[in-house]
Symmetry: C2
Subunit: 271 residues, 2 copies
Amino acid sequence: MSTKIWVVFANGSLSGYRKRLNQKTQHKSVFNVSRVQSAEQHEVLEFSDSADEQLIIDRVFRAVMEQRLAPGTKLNESVLCKTFGVGRMRVRRALLLLANQGIVDLQSNRGAFVACPDPREANEVFEARMHLEPSLVRQVALEIDAAGVKILKDHIAQEISAQSRTDRTELIRLSGEFHVKIATVTGNTVLHKVMRELVTRTSLIVGLFGSTLHTCCPDDEHEQIFRAIERRDPDASADLIREHLQHIQRSLNLAMPKMDEPDLVSILRGG
Amino acid sequence: MSTKIWVVFANGSLSGYRKRLNQKTQHKSVFNVSRVQSAEQHEVLEFSDSADEQLIIDRVFRAVMEQRLAPGTKLNESVLCKTFGVGRMRVRRALLLLANQGIVDLQSNRGAFVACPDPREANEVFEARMHLEPSLVRQVALEIDAAGVKILKDHIAQEISAQSRTDRTELIRLSGEFHVKIATVTGNTVLHKVMRELVTRTSLIVGLFGSTLHTCCPDDEHEQIFRAIERRDPDASADLIREHLQHIQRSLNLAMPKMDEPDLVSILRGG
DNA sequence: TTGACATTTATTGTTAACAATGTTTCCGTG
DNA sequence: CACGGAAACATTGTTAACAATAAATGTCAA
């Protein structure tokens, strides 16, 4: 739940609180209040209330990226409540945010479902990534420092390990996360968020339209990209990631219709 | 509020509903139910419940883009409720989504405030735009059709008109929206959403750090970009928009600290 | 058995009351 | 008057009950 630590400037304001705090010290803690009276600055450290909310989001994110939550799966509110041991409000807020990011589809009075991107949306996501990632990786190749190289190197090692263990789930997750980490090493949180969203939606798409296992983890392309970055070669990096994205996109079978109501009807009628 | 029209396949399922509908026909309407009994496909047309919710979001978006909502402004829940004539839930959901898009800062137990991006975040937003927009505008220059050209041409006309009328608010809004419209003409909804978010955050940034009026509407750069697009010149388009973004970014005074608590304290202590 | 209709159940959407917190005001004392 | 303290007030966060809807089940007649 919530834990707050008050460190309060001695100009009033705490007085009223301390009384309330002493009344019910269940989930509140005040440390060294007397000592702190002499502190100079009002400061509040808050261990965010929304931690469990973010947990739900992360779990769904991860499950989608690992393709363990199939598109179309219904996300029942009460089930989520029990699973995470939180109230309905938290679950609904998490679902709203997930819907806002295109990961789940929120249908009025029917509930939340893991999104089923259609081919058009799939192409849109890839188009967006094709705009963003070459330029991004170019910058990374130019500016990356030793710490960044290590992050990517470790990641590649993990991928190789998962590949040798034929750990499919882990490999799928790592495969997507590689692209997120490229954004991470720039230190740009805005880019990080955008990439995370696009990559997760890509996972959905690959899960829906990916014909072969090969689709999500094409050979050692990630390693090649890393090597180009490592030797600070922006042009090669950009070219490689462009090809990489094209390979994934081309390996999709976008003609395959998803199991959607209208399609089902037309199929049955045709038979 | 909500209005639904049921058109139901005659295989049951409606029966129970019609009873309820007849009981209270206040905000529900059923048209031609008898005729529809012979229809073949179950279909639900829903006039989204979340329309008013989206309205709140759009209004805040617009107010921020027009810089009429200053960064730091508190967005009181009850005020918003009265303003839009909706319940608290809707307002809170809207605020949550706005926070998720970085437009609003949601502080626990204190409320929602128009975001105050710091210089670091400002640079991140510009960096993200510098990655995205040149590539985007290049594609637009290559693929745009007559309808797209008209959209942009009309927009430029509007900008010129607002400039001649010295309608500052309108000019600020149009100035941001030009970039969104470039994404719009691609027809890519994913890109559109990303651009909309980045541009709105830019408006916040310009409002905070823009030293001069000139910052937000630099000469006729938009018109030049449009002309490059119109003559299908991808290289020139990309170069121009890159310069354009750099001009805006350079005109910012990022050294100027915002009126934030920690800064205020340090200022007072130093004096 | 099937199809129209009614009923029941499960799930989601909304609201309002309550709890917790932040903010302001006020009061007495030195 | 400055200051600490306490209460009053305003606002936000949470919960639980209720309303509305969807989905499932049951009934009965042709």
